[in-house]
């Protein structure tokens, strides 16, 4: 059994003159739910298309479950993929859509697919085109799961769903993760929904990997520090990931291995969203209006702690 679900080294992909993905190296473990996060155009879809073999890399290499994707049909059978906007044949009925999955796959767990849709009371005789967005997402997920993949790749599955459908979709996903032990890579630009379900984070920014790591480890290693306005470099707080200087104060997301002892700083734990936004904001993007990080920053420090 492979312990690496997806491994990329110096992976690059160019469309015409623009690089969608440049020199990406990452290693995603199996039996995890990986959140692939980044703004639109960061290269999430490109990475997932490279992982499914839909695209070929311009340079560098990618291995999925130890194999080069797209080279032979065997690896296709081990990956389940739900593409962006969840394409389905609109004039097929739900039952025909499942038959499609059965015809197109060597392994097919019919009971899993049928049972899943029955449980959600999605009528099998209904045309796919008349289903709601949430139901379509569930049909897509059922097809991807019924081929019993080892790795499930989902490209923005939550983007078109309302909050309720989003919750149901994630619940269904988590249930199958628990039941079948499938590894998941889930791309999204919505961070809040992912916190509860993901245990590994990859942040892509402008085609580069900004962060790749275990979420528990990442939250342990990052701190949000704030204090009176500082000019020049911040000393004694570790690596500064993102920094905002206003007239009165300086707020920074920092990466550190140990506790921050400097009493001038107010130190606070961070959540997933703050880490993501910090890395997406970047060191250079620290204008107040453009920086989403500032909105999550608490008011000026009232108390210093160590």
């Amino acid at each position: 059994m492979n312990t690496i679900a997806l491994e990329a080294s110096s992976l690059s992909r160019r469309y015409g003159g623009t690089w969608a993905l440049q020199e990406c190296s990452l290693s995603l473990p199996t039996a995890r739910v990986v959140a692939l996060v980044g703004p639109n155009g960061a290269g999430k879809t490109t990475l997932l298309h490279l992982a499914t073999g839909l695209l070929q890399p311009t340079s560098g290499s990618i291995h999925v479950l130890g194999e080069v994707p797209g080279a032979d049909p065997e690896i296709l059978g081990r990956i389940g993929f739900v593409a962006q906007e969840m394409p389905l044949y609109r004039n097929f009925t739900v039952a025909e859509m499942l038959r499609f999955g059965e015809e197109m796959n060597r392994t097919w767990d019919r009971d899993l697919a049928v049972g899943r849709l029955e449980k959600l009371s999605i009528p099998s005789s209904q045309k796919v085109g008349t289903l709601s967005g949430g139901q379509r997402a569930q049909v897509s997920l059922a097809i991807a799961l019924a081929k019993r993949p080892e790795l499930l790749l989902l490209d923005e599955p939550l983007a078109s769903l309302d909050p309720l459908a989003r919750r149901d979709f994630l619940a269904a996903l988590m249930e199958s993760v628990a039941e079948h032990g499938v590894s998941v890579v889930l791309s999204s630009h919505l961070v809040a929904d992912l916190e509860r379900v993901c245990d590994h984070l990859v942040v892509l920014r402008n085609g580069h990997v900004a962060v790749d790591g275990d979420i528990v480890g990442l939250t342990r290693k990052h701190r949000l520090v704030s204090g009176p306005r500082h000019t020049g470099a911040l000393a004694g707080v570790g690596e500064v990931i993102d920094r905002v200087d206003t007239d009165r104060q300086t707020v920074a997301l920092v990466r550190t291995d140990g506790p921050i002892m400097d009493p001038t700083w107010d130190v606070r734990d961070v959540d997933l969203e703050e880490i993501v936004l910090g890395y997406l904001g970047g060191r250079e993007g620290s204008s107040v209006a453009a920086d989403p990080l500032l909105r999550t920053v608490p008011p000026a420090p009232s108390e210093v702690r160590s």
Binding site: F81, P87, M104
Partner: protein, 328 residues
């Protein structure tokens, strides 16, 4: 894959079959009358004293109105290309479903082979049936007209309609794969198909093999009549330069005739047809026909089919290449 392809394209398959049934019904209704009229025509020379040429004219007049089917039948291969070929890959890419299909356990190469070969097989069967029906039905009409090479005759009979349809479907498929939009692909398929057909029809077909020529006296029947030849041009050869008119025909006016053959002007009613003919033959005036022998009919059918099948094969090769390399 077979079921999937069938499920995706069964609407087009049903529409094609309904169209074929409608054509078949029309041919069954009109066919027997044409056939019986033609049997009368064939029997004519057996009974002496009957006016066969007027019978022939009556036959032509009676069935001339059937010409309207020619353009209708001519577009059948085109419709296959536009409605079966163009959406085949383009609709998948347009709706993003190719990403669904290519990430199951079937490679995109096998997916494309299955889809395209099934659609081509269907095209082959449907247009094969169509061409067979039309060939049978039109046999008396073509036999009465004397040539199988005419526009709307050569194109609708034998094996070429099948090759046209294969080409049209391949053209639609390749165009759809290239531009990835169904409607523009349909429009381009239409235009490109018509353009290729016109070029082949007007410029290539007369030149598949070197033409033959035959010359024969003016005002006489060609010795090649009855061979079903395709007469590409018929010109007047006039060594005297007196009678040929600029448009390639012949103008015989009494004064020039009197000058050339002094002895025929004696008749006050003007010279008879035989006399004029004899006069012109003496002067060396004759007709020169450039033609393709009627015996080359199946050879020409084969050459034209081969051209369109080769084009279709090239386009399908292009489609596979695009699917493998250019679409994600």
């Amino acid at each position: 894959m077979i079921w999937v392809t069938w499920r995706q394209h069964r609407a087009q398959a049903f529409a094609t079959l309904i169209g074929l049934c409608a054509i078949g019904a029309f041919l069954l209704i009109t066919g027997p009358r044409i056939a019986s009229a033609f049997r009368e025509l064939q029997a004519c020379p057996v009974f002496p004293g009957q006016d066969c040429s007027s019978l022939h004219e009556a036959f032509d007049r009676r069935f001339n109105s059937l010409q309207f089917v020619v353009p209708l039948f001519m577009v059948v291969p085109l419709l296959m290309g536009v409605f079966l070929g163009a959406p085949l890959i383009a609709r998948e890419v347009e709706q993003g479903t190719h990403r669904l299909a290519w990430t199951q356990s079937v490679t995109r190469g096998r997916w494309a082979v299955a889809k395209i070969s099934l659609v081509c097989a269907f095209t082959l069967l449907a247009t094969g049936l169509f061409a067979w029906m039309v060939s049978r039905w039109s046999f008396p009409l073509v036999a009465a007209s004397g040539t199988r090479f005419g526009f709307g005759v050569f194109d609708l009979r034998g094996i070429v309609p099948i090759a046209y349809a294969l080409f049209a479907v391949a053209l639609g498929t390749a165009t759809g794969t290239l531009i990835r939009k169904t409607l523009p692909a349909m429009a381009i398929t239409l235009g490109a198909f018509v353009a290729v057909r016109v070029v082949v029809e007007l410029f290539l077909r007369p030149r598949y093999l070197a033409t033959k020529t035959i010359s024969y006296p003016f005002l006489q029947e060609s010795p090649r009549s009855g061979f079903g030849d395709w007469v590409i041009s018929s010109r007047v050869f006039d060594p005297t330069g007196r009678f040929s008119s600029p448009d390639g025909g012949i103008t015989v006016n009494p004064s020039s005739l009197a000058q050339a053959c002094p002895h025929i002007s004696s008749d006050p009613l003007g010279p008879g047809k035989d006399q004029v003919g004899r006069c012109l033959t003496q002067l060396g005036v004759k007709l020169v026909d450039t033609y393709q022998p009627g015996s080359r009919y199946w050879l020409f059918q084969g050459i034209e089919s081969a051209i369109f099948v080769a084009l279709a094969a090239g386009l399908i090769g292009l489609t596979f290449w695009l699917i493998r390399r250019r679409i994600s």
